[in-house]
């Protein structure tokens, strides 16, 4: 009976429809749109991690491109220096390790400050990484970037398979699996005691300290988790893109991560995911239809801030709450 009641919950039905939709997406979308959707999914993982810092810990980072780059270059440089080990099961942990190290070092410096000082420090450090990647031509490929070939998986090589085929087949489902795992893990983190501690720090730093939470240390933990999500997104992105350039460490890209999160709404868990997917399509179609695409992106941001400060998913959640409240009062 309990199972039946669980299955009848509207929330569960929505989840089931979304998951089924995602699974059958390769049959519904054109190759072009599907690959675009995959870009969106990788950014969704990044934005999800970014929001642990912005929405749940109250720290606005303008340098998350750095950890994205750490993941992407982690993959690309493994390809360059250890070509024998170019398989997914090694590359993903390697990318996570690189982003862990970079975000631990940068985070250690950044969490000493809050508010605008934190944001600027995060931005400055990410630009430092950008300069390093850009200048060390012989190590990182400089502005040419590095090529990322199709990886093998547990000894199976996709020889003769072209990238679009790879992306439409195995890789799409792999990406989808990683995305859902990351989403469920994040859901766990934010509702766990640790997540509650982060929210306590966001709401009231002084009191958090005085109930025995080590504020700075917990901010660092959040920073590292957030950075690793960005690194994971970066690693997954590098296979979709096939090519890694220093641009991803630049603050403009970090700004896009902030934009995605605001677009979706940082007060709800799914907000950044919705934001990242919509942003990816919005940006590309805006770019395709006019050379003044930045105007469209900018105008969207202004409208968003004025009309929908809670973001798209946040606004939707509010609407649903309002409707259910309306029916509840009617019934009573």
């Amino acid at each position: 009976m309990a199972l039946k009641r669980f299955l009848m919950r509207p929330r569960f039905i929505i989840y089931a429809v979304v998951i089924l939709g995602f699974v059958f997406l390769p049959r519904l979308l054109s190759t072009f749109n599907l690959i675009l959707f995959e870009y969106g999914l990788t950014f969704a993982i990044v934005a999800l991690g970014f929001n642990l810092l912005l929405g749940y810990t109250g720290l606005l980072s303008f340098g998350h491109g750095a950890y994205f780059a750490a993941g992407a270059y982690g993959v690309a440089m493994t390809a360059k220096y250890f070509p024998a080990h170019f398989s997914l099961e090694i590359l993903i942990p390697a990318a996570l390790l690189v982003s862990l190290i970079i975000s631990a070092i940068f985070g250690f410096v950044c969490v000493r400050h809050t508010r605008i000082f934190f944001s600027i420090l995060a931005l400055a450090l990410s630009m430092l990484l950008y300069a390093l990647v850009f200048k060390f031509y012989h190590v990182t490929g400089g502005s040419d970037g590095l090529y990322v070939k199709i990886p093998s998986v547990f000894g199976y090589t996709f020889e003769g398979v072209r990238r679009p085929q790879f992306l439409m087949g195995f890789y799409y489902y792999f990406l989808l699996g990683v995305f859902f795992a990351a989403l469920i893990l994040m859901k766990g983190i934010v509702s766990s005691p640790f997540g509650k501690a982060l929210q306590a720090i966001r709401d009231n730093e002084v009191r958090a300290e005085l109930i025995g939470i080590r504020v700075r240390r917990y901010r660092l933990y959040a920073f590292i988790i957030s950075g690793m999500y960005a690194g994971l997104g970066g690693a997954l992105w590098s296979f979709v893109n096939g090519h890694v350039t220093p641009d991803v460490a630049h603050w403009v890209f970090s700004g896009e991560i902030v934009y995605m999160t605001l677009l979706g709404g940082f007060a709800v868990l799914a907000g950044p995911v919705v934001g990242a997917l919509i942003f990816t399509f919005l940006k590309l179609y805006a770019m395709g239809s006019t050379e003044y695409w930045m105007l469209i992106i900018g105008a969207t941001l202004i409208i968003l801030v004025l009309v929908l400060p809670a973001g798209i998913a946040g606004g939707f959640a509010k609407l649903v709450a309002k409707i259910s409240q309306h029916f509840a009062t009617r019934a009573a």
Binding site: S192, F194, A197, N204, L210, G212
Partner: protein, 247 residues
């Protein structure tokens, strides 16, 4: 239990606390009274580690904690509330308490299972709220509580830390006059039940004499009287600083 010896605090060139010595014993409920600007809150801040000491010594359970961090003092068992309520406004009343309990039991680092999974802690948080008479407001956000309930919640959070020594900075300020005694009744009975020692800053002389074992009178940064409430009230120098009556 708590022993303060010749404690001094300067803010810049201004001396706020002159050499001050006093002691709080086990199970004792002591009130700290004095006119505005006497340094009562500063004294509490010094003991909780919120403000750094200039000179002197603070001992707790025979250990020197003069320079210990607030974190270590909490772990040793010194908790405090705040005069201006200091809550987690975007968490429910239940979560406000639950965070404290997670911290006490060292479970605050657990990062995978949802907070609701820890049933024993959730139940205990509900018990704490029942003890303080706000058990029916579990799912309310602190912003929607009355001023009195906010105060009670603030104190309940300090209480939930399972401390041995509680610093209460005006637990009834901002509470409607009619509710003051009700609030104090709940707080004091909870403290007595757990056999905690307590230092309360209070302005209301009726509360001081009804609820506390001993009174410390602080004026211009130093303690001028120390004794039972009834006796203290009769002293001429106390009357002068507290009520402005010249004997």
């Amino acid at each position: 239990m708590l022993k303060v010896t010749r404690l001094v605090k300067d803010f810049g060139k201004a001396r706020i606390i002159y050499p001050t010595t006093f002691e709080v014993k086990r199970d004792e409920i002591v009130s700290l009274v004095g006119p505005n600007g006497a340094g009562k809150t500063t004294l509490v801040n010094l003991i909780s580690g919120h403000v750094k000491v200039t000179g002197g010594k603070i001992e707790f359970l025979e250990r020197d904690i003069t320079y210990a961090s607030p974190y270590h003092r909490i772990k040793m068992g010194i908790a405090r509330n705040f005069q201006i309520t200091n809550l987690f406004d975007n968490s429910t009343v239940l979560d406000n308490i639950r965070i404290c309990l997670f911290s006490v039991y060292g479970k605050i680092k657990r990062g995978i299972l949802p907070a609701t999974h820890y049933k024993a802690i959730t139940e205990e948080a509900a018990e704490v709220l029942d003890t303080f008479g706000i058990g029916d407001k579990k799912e309310v956000f602190p912003g929607n509580l009355s001023e009195g309930d906010k105060k009670v919640l603030d104190t309940a959070m300090a209480f939930a830390l399972k401390s041995k020594f509680l610093l209460l900075d005006e637990p009834t300020s901002g509470v409607a006059t009619g509710d003051k005694f009700k609030v104090m009744d709940t707080i004091i009975s909870a403290i007595k039940k757990e056999r905690m020692a307590c230092l309360i800053i209070e302005h209301d002389m009726d509360i001081v004499s009804d609820y506390t074992d001993r009174v410390l009178v602080l004026a211009e940064g130093t303690i001028i009287a120390d004794g039972k409430p009834k006796e203290i009230m009769e002293q001429s120098n106390v009357k002068e600083v507290l009520f402005g009556v010249k004997a």
